[in-house]
Amino acid sequence: MEALYREAILDHYKHPRRKGHLDAPDIQYHDHNPFCGDELTIELKVEDGVVVDAAFDGRGCAISQATASMIMEEIVGLSVDELKTWDKQYILDMLGIEIGPVRLKCALLSLKVLKAGLWGLEEWPE
């Protein structure tokens, strides 16, 4: 059990950081995972190419929601260019767990939403 739901993940799930909405976000993106219905919105305030405020809202499994919360903890103060370099491995290292192919989608939902927002996508290309 500890393998998948280590203490830090449960902590982020039960006490999500920066959960809610910003007043006037510069970037806002929403998406969901059609297989399990997990939903996620990420909002960012950006000044001079640097994230100065962030929030997320969503509902879903512990993995998807804890990942979003962990990202929130890291994101403020980083530049948009830097965030664009985040990849799958970065998220998996942050989570620090072994994850199977099905749950991988849960873990990567935040990254998908974040990147789409940063690149200003209208819709995620299929």
Partner: protein
């Protein structure tokens, strides 16, 4: 009484090789039977023997192997006819499964009989396979698709049935036993109502055929469909049963080999039943495997299987009701088949399933291909434990203990 039932079950479980394996160091407790059942040695052996000794195409060669393969394949059809008490094995059409059976009826009978002004009536507790084909066809043919709603308890709400089912209704298509709520629907009442307005009836037996004795003549459905993989048989095969006059009238589904009597450059003449609907090389080994599954189930006894699952479901209903935060979807045990879908506090079903998996327990988590049911309850997804002949009350106890653990972990 309970002890003896579990004894027989343990003996049966020994015939399923996969149930001897471990998952995360624990005995596998397989409670995802509504998604797909496990396969007994009897089925696995028959399929292997076919490939090792008799493999050849059916209905085509006059050599020994082809004769053997054809005999095995057609023997399976006879067994299937007996299993559901079809009047003739010509009314047993092998498909790829329930989904293909429904699509076959939609594309052949549906195209020939539905148009603007007509109505097709389904229910809000259908599997997507009995919703989407009708939506696609509706968009092409312009008929109206209506739904029988469900009550908060998870039964069909039949108060408006005489409005929903009317002179325009050409087809009533409904699930025999729901794969989410467990509800076993009142077939006699529904069929009688359909007869009064002259509507045809299609019954989705995917969750009933594996678990209770079925007599298609007594049910009096025009079409009845089910899947092999949920009844101890292999994947890739299923059955469409239909009334003979309807099947005779219907145009073919797919065109190709085996389904024709003669082909010229300008036209073709269709083969007789059931071959008219079995174009191309069928899933021969799988059909033979399904025949063996039917023998296996008949030996165990469909009556016994039904009684055993009823006992397990009552036991599970009571035991799970004691788990803090657990809410069961659907009616009381007497009105349902051998499955229980539930939510646990606001823990996401994927998290529930992942915690249980660490204890070697396999359940289903998600919307179970039935989103409209979940919409009724205002939930996105649920967890589901579904039983079969090899499950015991001990399995239910392990399930409940593991759920209590999950509740503590996320609570």
């Amino acid at each position: 009484m309970q002890a003896t039932v579990n004894d027989r079950t343990t003996e049966l479980a020994a015939q399923f090789p996969i149930l001897q394996r471990e998952v995360h160091g624990k005995r596998l407790v397989y409670l995802d039977n509504a998604a797909s059942s496990q396969k007994p040695t009897a089925v696995l052996d028959v399929m292997e023997r076919y490939y090792r000794q008799s493999n050849a195409n059916v209905h085509r060669g006059v050599h020994t192997l082809s004769e053997e393969a054809t005999t095995l394949y057609e023997d399976a059809r006879v067994r299937l006819a007996g299993f559901i008490n079809a009047p003739s094995d010509k009314q047993i059409i092998f498909t790829r499964g329930t989904t293909e059976g429904i699509n076959l009826v939609a594309h052949t009978w549906g195209r020939a009989n539905l148009g603007p002004g007509d109505e097709v009536l389904i229910t809000q507790m259908e599997h997507h396979s009995n919703i989407v084909p009708w939506q696609i066809l509706r968009d092409q043919l312009g008929f109206t698709l209506r739904y029988i709603p469900i009550t908060p308890l998870g039964e069909l709400d039949l108060r408006e049935l005489d409005v929903l089912l009317n002179a325009r209704t050409k087809l009533l298509s409904f699930v025999h036993a729901s794969n989410v709520l467990g509800t076993v629907n009142p077939v006699p009442q529904l069929v009688q109502a359909a007869r009064q307005v002259g509507a045809k009836v299609l019954i989705d037996g995917a969750q009933s055929v594996p678990h209770m004795p079925i007599d298609v003549q007594e049910l009096d459905a025009d079409f009845f469909v089910f899947s092999s993989h949920k009844m101890c048989g292999p994947t890739g095969v299923g059955v469409l049963y239909g009334k003979r006059d309807l099947l005779e009238e219907m145009p073919p589904f797919m065109g190709g080999g085996d389904m024709i009597r003669s082909v010229t450059m300008t036209e073709s003449r269709w083969n007789t039943l059931p071959y008219k609907f079995e174009a191309g090389t069928p899933a021969i080994a799988e059909v033979i495997g399904l025949g063996a599954a039917v023998d296996f189930l008949t030996d165990v006894g469909m009556g016994w299987i039904h009684a055993h699952e009823q006992m397990l479901t009552r036991y599970a209903y009571e035991r799970l009701s004691q788990v803090e935060g657990l809410r069961i979807l659907g009616p009381e045990p007497e009105k349902r088949g051998g499955l229980i879908a539930f939510t646990l506090g606001d823990i996401h079903p994927h998290d529930i399933s992942a915690v249980l998996d660490m204890d070697g327990i396999a359940i289903r988590a998600g919307h179970h291909c039935a989103q409209p049911v979940h919409d009724c309850y205002n939930i996105a997804a649920s967890a589901r434990a579904s039983f079969y002949l090899y499950n015991t009350t001990e399995d239910v106890d392990l399930l409940a203990e593991s759920l209590e653990k999950a509740h503590k972990l996320f609570g």
